[in-house]
């Protein structure tokens, strides 16, 4: 079987999904079920003191026994804040050590700050975390993150939440060719073809949130993304035919054409 292996654990689905921006937990759950994802990202935030403590929580909608949680550091702009957030996440999730590190550069672009990301990754890996790291599509930084000991490197396709698709397939290709750990396109996927292209390039998986949650029908889009990731993976494994510029090749026999 063709499985995604991250930090020694294997997964049947190559689609990882976020849990933000949905109308409610019922829609979150329905979309994630339709996506077939096994790994789901979550954010860590201050609890609202004073609100009804019995209102439903994300952990009720998506029991950690059924999904692999990937707590993130969304909203962190320094290595220190990201490290602090993930230590709280590990305490919150009973010692769970698989995490998504992202250190952002500014709130307008949400572009990764790779200097702070490298610093945080060093500390977290030494502290025993299994770090899946969001980064730019810079192949040198991606390799450095692998060398530090990150268990997966997750370059952007385009800006978080932009839906702009894969802007630099050549950089992604270099990263895929040079790294040994799984390469997961994270951020920027807008529609199913973007996910398929990422997988055809040879990415090990795709992580998305807004492309599903921001669709008119999130549950139908989740299903589309599941199929796109599977189709892209199969096409990659099958090995596409070579492109032939200005050189057509008929699919039907050239002999026995009537009238010749």
């Amino acid at each position: 079987m063709d499985k995604l292996v991250i930090a020694g654990r294997s997964y049947a689905s190559r689609l990882l999904v976020g849990t933000g921006k949905y109308q409610d937990f019922a829609q979150t759950r329905a979309a994630i079920d339709a996506s077939g994802a096994e790994i789901v990202t979550v954010a860590i935030r201050r609890t609202n003191i004073g609100q009804d403590p019995n209102q439903p929580s994300l952990l009720d909608a998506l029991p950690p026994s059924q999904f692999t949680y990937l707590p993130n550091t969304a909203g962190c702009y320094t290595a220190d804040d990201a490290i602090r957030t993930l230590r709280l996440a590990r305490e919150l999730l009973d010692g769970h050590d698989l995490v998504k590190l992202e250190v952002l550069g500014d709130p307008q672009s949400l572009y990764p700050n790779v200097v702070e990301t490298l610093k945080a990754a060093e500390v977290l890996v030494k502290d025993g975390f299994k770090v899946m790291v969001y980064t730019s599509d810079d192949p040198i930084i991606a390799k450095q993150l692998e060398d530090i000991g990150c268990v997966a490197v997750m370059p952007l396709a385009s800006l978080i939440g932009s839906g702009m698709g894969i802007l630099n397939p050549w950089n992604l290709q270099i990263i895929i060719d040079r790294l040994n750990v799984p390469v997961i396109v994270d951020a920027g996927v807008g529609t199913a073809s973007d996910a398929a292209i990422a997988m055809e390039l040879g990415c090990d998986a795709v992580l998305m949130n807004t492309a599903i949650a921001g669709a008119k029908d999130p549950i139908l889009m989740a299903s589309a993304m599941k199929k796109a990731v599977e189709a892209g993976r199969e096409a990659y494994l099958a090995g596409r035919m070579p492109k032939k510029v200005y050189q057509a090749s008929p699919s039907s026999p050239t002999a026995g054409i009537i009238g010749t």
Binding site: A43, T47, I49, S57, N72, A74, A89, L92, N209
Partner: protein, 67 residues
């Protein structure tokens, strides 16, 4: 009466001596939370024995939807 800074907001409490008593007064006992006191994470097992005193800074976090 003591004043605690919880998630950045000052709040007054009476009769709260340790972390479990504080969480009980906030109706958070048994909830999936993580607590930091004065910048240090307090493991769940240490909640009953962690003293709370005037001026303590606490962060109480939960998991929410995110990408």
């Amino acid at each position: 009466m003591i004043t605690l800074h919880i998630n950045g907001q000052p709040r007054q409490f009476t009769g709260v001596m340790n972390l479990v008593e504080l969480l009980a007064s906030l109706e958070l006992v048994g909830k999936r939370i993580a607590v930091e006191k004065n910048g240090e994470i307090v493991p769940k097992s240490q909640h009953p024995t962690t003293p709370i005193s005037d001026g303590d800074q606490l962060e109480i976090v939960v998991a929410v939807g995110g990408g």
